[in-house]
Amino acid sequence: MAAPMLRGWWFARRGALACVDGGSRHGRGAAIGCRSSGQRGQSSVAQQPLITAQKSGKGEHEWAAVVGLEIHAQISSNSKLFSGSQVQFAAPPNSLVSFFDASLPGTLPVLNRRCVEAAVMTGLALKCHINKKSLFDRKHYFYADLPAGYQITQQRLPIAVNGSLEYSVCVGKKRSQVITRTARIKQIQLEQDSGKSLHDELRSQTLIDLNRAGVGLLEVVLEPDMSCGEEAATAVRELQLILQALGTSQANMAEGQLRVDANISVHHPGEPLGVRTEVKNLNSARFLARAIDSEIERQINELENGREILNETRSFDCKLGCTIPMRDKEGKQDYRFMPEPNLPPLLLYDTASLPPGADPQQVINIDRIREQLPELPSETREQLVQQYGMLPEHSFTILNEVGLLEFFQNVIKETRAEPKKVTSWILNNFLGFLKQQNLAVNESPVTPSALAELLNLLDRKAISSSAAKQVFEELWRSKGKTPSQIVSEKQLELMQDGEALDQVCLAVMEEHPQVVLAMKRGNPRAINKMIGLVRKATLSRADPTVIKEILEKKLSS
């Protein structure tokens, strides 16, 4: 499908990603101070309570920033929200389009049960009130990838309201102090995704792919309870983990399954909130915090220089590292909301209100979904701390890295090594290697079994810890070899034979009479030197403590 080029197609997209409340100011009285420091650009940690603008002697003003988020998560389901078309990423263009998705006249929406269940489950996990009755509305705007000319959403009465999202930020010098914060959730609504426009500027054409048109979205609206990029990014990351744990969304930002818009304003503490801007399409985890912080900084700069903040829509230019206004010729758009007449109110039940004799296929029982709630990330972290004595900040790292928790659990299952040891190896050596080579956990050449085996060797003192590191490096290079194979190939196993080690010690002592003399005189450095010499002679395969024992025995005899 192709359309003539949209005039200024790079203008504000108002569709799936638009804001819900129309006011231009945040509706919250008191702001929590942003803890971002004045210097930014890197992921600044929340430390100071307020932003201090460049110190200019007197007239120094403190600024507080307020950040609210609208997050669109694609529901993980086999079919679309209102049609039977399949949902699949990167399918050939327009291969997953039903008559309804293409808005053929006469077609009607039929609500997908799975999407409703996903919304209810997400609402429950986020401590929302689930509305037993919710309604669908049409939101109108013309855009080439919105075939019906309207999006079906839940403007008046959404499926879930008044929840909260708890997320934790690590603060302190070593980022070892974990502080829990809460962002209130205004609502969660079910709505349709739009299609995709591909702009071919050479031929001055817009190509339309409707595969995504009609896919179910959860729009999660977070109240402006955050105060800097890092907080927002952490909240989004936590939501992402929750959605993934629930299985209600794959929430993969790179595949567009999680998309974020931020509402940002700054003000002086104690004064009314400032005019806000909306930064749209923050669709990369990498740039989320940076975009928000740069917008906060821009607003402060504007105000400090006596300029005003316009209530406008902006986007983040990752090359420039700052937000730029989205040119929006049409001005304020009126979406002309109207009830969707083809969908009756969505009614949900709990066990108490379930009509007797109701067909389970026809009704959704909130209590049943509550029973099916899986362990949430916060519970998983708590479990890690309790069961393995893990530090809280380590439990965050384990969960934040995709696939790392599973990796950790698999290693634990197969090793006799201490959990603390496992944690330390995974966070320091394993994760370090991954980062260094820019790999994801599932791309790691080292399997959980291999690491478990390595840790077992270490645990039963078959190898020294420096040998273990060597083996680990070797595992990284030579895929397919087991740790034991590497140990025997490289002859890295510790000498378990006391007799043999005794012989080596004797031989080395005979070779170095001066060192022996120094030892006998009680020079404390001499014994260490001798241990080193013996270790060298054993090609590092002997345990230094054992060597020391032997040497001491020989000296005293």
């Binding site: 949209l6 005039r7 109108h140 339309i208 002309r336 007449p341």
Partner: protein, 527 residues
Amino acid sequence: MLGRTLREVSAALKQGQITPTELCQKCLSLIKKTKFLNAYITVSEEVALKQAEESEKRYKKGHSLGDLDGIPIAVKDNFSTSGIETTCASNMLKGYVPPYNATVVQKLLDQGAVLMGKTNLDEFAMGSGSTDGVFGPVKNPWSYSKQYREKTKHKAHGENEDSNWLITGGSSGGSAAAVATFTCFAALGSDTGGSTRNPAAHCGVVGFKPSYGLVSRHGLIPLVNSMDVPGILTRCVDDAAIVLGMLAGHDPKDSTTVQDPVKPFTLTSLTDVSKLCIGIPKEYITPELSSEVQSLWSKAANLFESEGAKVIEVSLPHTSYSIVCYHVLCTSEVASNMARFDGLEYGHRCDIDVSTEAMYAATRREGFNDVVRGRILSGNFFLLKENYENYFIKAQKVRRLIANDFVNVFNSGVDVLLTPTTLSEAVPYQEFIKEDNRTRSAQDDIFTQAVNMAGLPAVSVPMALSNQGLPVGLQFIGRAFHDQQLLTVAKWFEKQVQFPVTQLQELMDDCSSVFEIEKLAAVSLKQ
């Protein structure tokens, strides 16, 4: 054979008196002879003959699919028909061939019905005359009937005869004319404010609007989703009941259809109306109502009363707000529903390719007529943020009041309401177009419109010929989902009044014998 009712011809098919192919060919030949009426936009001759042939095979094997097998039907051109152009009488959809069948169409085809073609209408069903479609107006067959010609001979003298033709009413005028001229045995219309009942009354046929939610709208190109229902046009009440029996019930593709299974039913013949309570809404006695229609209405009420029914005056106090309320709700939904016609996925697209916006604007300007564009404009005005509360929300509240009027009346013990269908009999086209579409729709929907607001079943039954020799229909309104009871009362009434058959011999000489004989046969075969 053509003059028979659906049930009679169905019996004849089963008995082998006629084959489906013969029947289909007779209808096709009549369609050609009545082409000047402009009742059909598309005649699906090839498809029809093929379907008839298949039906014939089934009859030969003794495996007929039921009462509709081999029966010629017609479908209003706003129902999607797979592989057959569906235009809504609009430039916007000229050449649009849907890839799927509307549920109601599919159900008829599954029963072995033979689709003769797609019938004419006002563009996107917006109108009450069947005069505002891109393919031109539909002419009322009664314009050419012996009955009308005889009465108006003196008036027509000296004038060009053809300029005096009458409108069919609308917007399902093509379907009404198709049934009235025997080119099919039943036709689908749609009814949003009276679009099935109004032309039925003007063309002397039965026009039935089922309860909202009883019959699937899937595939019906919408006017007002919350009021649209597929309508049924037939030559007698029994036939409408047969077709309803085939169409009614839940459709997984239409979430607004009833969940409960609908039991198949056959209409009983009422012998005793003494337990019936008939309501006469006093608000329907308006100054615009022609004295002739009013007197026929009284006559009908007297008929019930004389047979022992209780006939009482009732009040539907919010009736007068119905039209203005409808205007707001209708145009708002129209503005929304028409948004999809942007020239991208299907339908008309202009040549302008400067930008997508320019393409949208030109496509929609070229694709829609003034009536559609006017309604889109008003609807978008009512939906603006600053107007929504004052117009749309208020109109919804008024709608609730109107619906409650009916609930109250039915709760007070009334079984069925009896009202006129239209203000007068059909008027000449030249007369009709003196007023614009909006004015006409507002006038002509006055007795039919409130029913759609309330989602009730209603049926227009032809009662008698006016002094001019033109049909006058009366409307029965029933309780929601009491469609069967409603049709039973209508059937009793139909039997009492013995409405005459159109006499079109002057125009179709070679068919005259058919009508002469069948007119009698039709009466005598009724049980």
